[in-house]
């Protein structure tokens, strides 16, 4: 509604502006001077424009200007590079003395760090903040794509481009061999589980890219160590958009359509070329080879690819009801893949409420994010088949045994390339994924101890996926072996819970020109995963029931951490950060459960020193030194240290005393397995020149991983397998 009203105003204004210029309305002459508000010096070359028109002029060498403007001109817009733009109501004035304020870029920006935020100028670690203005634009359906190429040291690799598929994110490369190399991703204070639930191809797909306000990338150990246990591969903190107190209601509608098309195919022989080779090289391929070729010219790649459209629609409403800021958004994405029979349909919804109570001393931040996704995965194996399939064969030959498709299996070759069109179009490979993440964060300024805040964050992340991957009985055996047809169902559920609690104390000690910012807290996380799979053949009179997989799993692990951080600033020039975190993981046992991860960083704001303070050309100069240790325990297995026996699943039973029994196998285990530790050293220099028009930072780092968690081949007879996941000290 507001948009329309606003637009109406602009429209009327435009009509008015247009009609005045057409009607040669009366003009008046105005004069004035544009100066720098700080120094009072005149600004030559500043532009003055009557807003909404093309009537304008620039100031002369002395900063003076004069121009004729229509009598009914309402607003003057004044712009000068390096200064803040300014607008002035014209009214009845004819002489304007305009003082422009210097625009300072970047200096007041904040960067989000673990359990808090700091001014960008005060950050001691290697942190890159990317706001929604900087994000990649265009047809973007996954959050990772917003970041591609936006931060140094962050490499994002797409996983093949299927609809909705995720990307691999690596911050400064990987640091582990067998453990996870994914960064820790924290959304609105909730560290999320990077493990996809079955049926989902992107663990970040529940975040609508349109809802993201900023992404902060923590690269070095002094920044990440506060997240100790899961931070060896860097941290990405994502904050979503929020309503603002007192802001009017804003409705935002985004409608995006895009089209994707394959631009290049693999260069393969056509049917004619194959026949020519067979004829010309009879001596090489044998006299019979030409007779094996048929008369078609099938371009298999063109048969499986298509031009595909994507729809991405978003609606968000934000504002404030009395003192309750809110934001609600709904997003709908329908992405078709360029490979036929692949698509993704996604519905996301978010609600965030940020009320404050008790005269602002209790801040509440409640977020709920939901997602429903329908995936149709098709069979990307058809791409490989299309490259190797014989181009002299038709798509269809009318054979009823293969559903009308040409198939080698009907011509005596059971292991031949399956017909790519049948492989792609006749598969029924779909999944449905639901995910919900909710959290409530309470931030309370404790009234009787000034400057002390208590922060409690409780979150739950629930995702559920179910799906199937079926093939008809007319599919060739190379795709369904050893079954006749194939019916496969799966379902999975991930439940993760989190509780964070910390105190923060901030104090300016003016007597010794110091500032202290101390944080101490506790974090509890629980990850639980379960799921099952059933794969079987189609049953009829000639084909008895056959099950190749009937399995289920349930597993959990806990992480418990105590952490503390001290930021000490002396004379706004020397910044010191020290953090320590003790983490306990249920994956390890006994004394190995706990790991201690310290870090320290020092930053020197050279710009604030007296010898640089007045040098105008240098806007910012800061040296950062950091050192820290981070831990790794994300090894995929939850009980690698416990001696246990595993029952075999159906299909692997053994005949004991005339009865098929599941056998019990001792599992390989390492009771001494412990935390992997990565030590990072970082030296960085942040600089900005000429009012930050040229700015940047240079970081040099060294990262060493000790006690690698690694699957190694072990001497025969030393454990219950030939390989063991163990702590591998060089």
């Amino acid at each position: 509604m507001r948009i329309i009203r606003k637009n109406l105003k602009i429209l009327l204004f435009l009509i008015a502006a247009l009609s005045t210029s057409v009607g040669y309305a009366q003009v008046k002459t105005i004069t004035g001077k544009v100066t720098d508000a700080k120094t009072g010096e005149p600004l030559p070359g500043a532009t003055i424009v009557v807003k909404g028109t093309t009537i304008g002029t620039t100031t002369n060498f002395d900063g003076d200007f004069n121009m004729n403007i229509p009598n009914d001109a309402q607003t003057l817009a004044i712009a000068f590079i390096g200064m803040k733009n300014m607008e002035i109501e014209v009214g009845s004035q004819t002489i304007f003395n305009i003082a422009l304020q210097e625009e300072t870029f970047g200096l007041d920006e904040v960067v989000v760090i673990g359990y808090g935020q700091v001014k960008k100028g005060d950050a001691t670690g290697s942190v890159t903040a990317i706001s929604s203005d900087d994000f990649n634009k265009g047809a973007i359906t996954s959050a990772q794509d917003l970041l591609v190429g936006k931060a140094s040291g962050v490499v994002i690799t797409t996983a093949g481009g299927a609809p909705g598929s995720g990307s691999t994110i690596r911050i400064r490369g990987g640091s582990s061999l067998n453990a996870s190399n994914d960064p820790l991703i924290i959304i609105d204070g909730v560290p999320i589980d990077n493990n996809n639930v079955s049926g989902s191809s992107n663990f970040l797909s529940f975040v609508n890219p349109n809802d993201i306000e900023s992404m902060n990338i923590l690269k070095d150990a002094s920044a990440t160590a506060i997240y100790g246990s899961r931070a060896s591969n860097g941290v990405i903190i994502i904050n979503t958009k929020k309503g603002k107190a007192g802001a009017p209601m804003t409705i935002n509608v985004d409608i995006n359509s895009s089209i994707a098309t394959p631009i290049e195919y693999m260069d393969v022989y056509s049917g004619d070329e194959m026949r020519k080779i067979a004829l010309d090289k009879k001596g090489l391929y044998g006299p019979d080879s030409y007779n094996q070729l048929w008369i078609e010219n099938t371009n298999w790649q063109k048969q499986i690819f298509r031009t595909a459209g994507t729809q991405d629609n978003n609606l968000s409403i934000s504002g404030s009801v009395k003192d309750l800021p809110y934001r609600v958004s709904v997003g709908y994405t329908n992405q078709k893949g360029i490979l036929k029979n692949t698509d993704m349909e996604r519905l996301t919804g978010t609600l965030s409420l940020n009320p404050t109570f008790l005269d602002g001393s209790l801040k509440v931040n409640a977020n709920a994010k939901g997602m429903l996704t329908d995936n149709n995965f098709g069979d990307s194996g058809a791409i490989g088949s299309a490259i190797s399939m014989d181009p002299t064969k038709p798509i269809y030959d009318g054979n009823p045994n293969s559903g009308g498709y040409f198939q080698w299996s009907n011509y005596g070759a059971n292991l031949g390339t399956p017909n790519p069109v049948e492989q792609l179009m006749e598969v029924d490979n779909k999944s449905n994924v639901k995910r919900f993440i909710g959290n409530i964060q309470l931030d309370y300024e404790i009234p009787f101890i000034p400057d002390l805040r208590a922060n409690l964050n409780v979150a739950s992340d629930y995702s559920k996926g179910e799906g199937y991957n079926n093939r008809p009985t007319t599919s060739p055996s190379v795709l369904t072996s050893p079954l006749w047809g194939k019916l496969s169902n799966f379902d999975a559920k991930n439940t993760n819970d989190l509780l964070d609690f910390y105190f923060n104390y901030t104090k300016d000690l003016e007597g010794i020109k110091s500032r202290i910012d101390a944080t101490a807290g506790y974090s509890w996380q629980h990850f639980k995963r379960e799921g099952s799979t059933l794969t079987r053949g189609v049953v009829d009179a000639n084909h008895p029931a056959q099950v190749t997989e009937n399995s289920s799993f349930i597993t959990e692990n806990y992480l418990i951490s105590f952490f503390g951080r001290l930021n000490y600033t002396l004379a706004n020039k020397y910044l010191l950060t020290a953090t320590v975190r003790q983490d306990g993981s249920s994956r390890f046992i006994g004394d190995n459960k706990w790991g201690i991860f310290p870090s320290a960083a020092f930053a020197w704001k050279i710009k604030e020193e007296s010898f640089l303070k007045d040098v105008k050309a240098v806007t910012e100069l800061k040296l950062r030194l950091g050192w820290g240790i981070t831990g790794q325990q994300d090894i995929g297995k939850d009980y690698p240290a416990q001696a246990a026996y595993i029952l075999s699943s159906p299909g692997s039973f053994y005949l004991v005393d005339g009865q098929f029994l599941p056998t019990l196998r001792p599992s390989a285990y390492d009771p001494y397995i412990k935390w992997e530790e990565t030590t990072t050293q970082n030296i960085g220099l942040d600089f900005g020149f000429v009012n930050n028009r040229i700015s940047g930072s240079i970081d040099v780092y060294k990262r060493v991983t000790d006690d690698l968690l690694n699957t190694v081949t072990i001497p025969t007879g030393s454990n219950f397998s030939n390989t063991l996941l163990t702590t591998w000290a060089a």
Binding site: K593, Q642, I646, L661, L664
Partner: protein
């Protein structure tokens, strides 16, 4: 959450109900007390046990008399079945678990290398056996070495488990026989293999 909140709340009500209770003075105390309680009770969460009913901890093997039969069954199965199926995967990590079971590899090594059999299939390692040109890196050699060693390790474990149990004397003896069988092939194929009995 799952961390015995109720305990914390009961203690809190006790404090509030006490006659000397002064809300403001005790608030910090309660906060510290509450968080301390929360912390101590949650640390115990780190002691987890596998939740999957298909996983039986070594300490629970005596819970069901059928278990020992199933552990013994595994020693028999280890000669012919590649692993536990979807539950735990193959016993050894190899490029194709079915390809490299003990019996299959044993047969290939013992028969294809002689005039008794020839295998025309082009899979890796087969041609070398036909033509007597195999090297130490032949995958069947690795597989049979690791799998026989594993059968011996399973047997050693089972013999230790059943050593003092008068009801399982026969099981123990069967495991000893299977271990001897594995050593027979081991010595036959490799001459002087490592010898482990526990």
């Amino acid at each position: 959450m799952m961390c015995r909140w109720n305990l914390g709340l009961t203690s809190l009500t006790t404090i509030i109900k006490s006659p000397n209770f002064c809300w403001y003075k005790n608030k910090i105390l309660i906060a510290i007390f509450l968080s301390a309680l929360m912390v101590t009770s949650c640390v115990n969460d780190l002691d987890v046990k596998p939740m999957d009913p298909d996983t039986i901890l070594a300490g629970n093997l005596n819970d069901d008399p059928a278990y020992m039969k199933q552990v013994l069954g595994k020693i028999y199965a280890s000669f012919i079945i590649p692993g536990q199926g979807a539950n735990g995967g193959a016993d050894i990590s190899a490029s194709d678990e079915n390809f490299f079971t003990t019996m299959r590899a044993l047969w290939n090594l013992q028969e294809i290398t002689t005039d008794e059999a020839i295998c025309a299939w082009g899979d890796i390692g087969i041609a070398d056996l036909n033509t007597q040109t195999w090297s130490p890196s032949n995958p069947f050699l690795t597989a049979v070495y690791q799998r026989l060693g594993l059968s011996i390790t399973y047997a050693n474990d089972f013999i230790r488990l059943t050593a003092d149990n008068p009801d399982l004397v026969q099981f123990n003896a069967e495991a000893r026989f299977l271990r001897a069988l594995a050593y027979y092939w081991y010595i036959d194929l490799f001459g002087n293999p490592p010898f482990t009995t526990e």
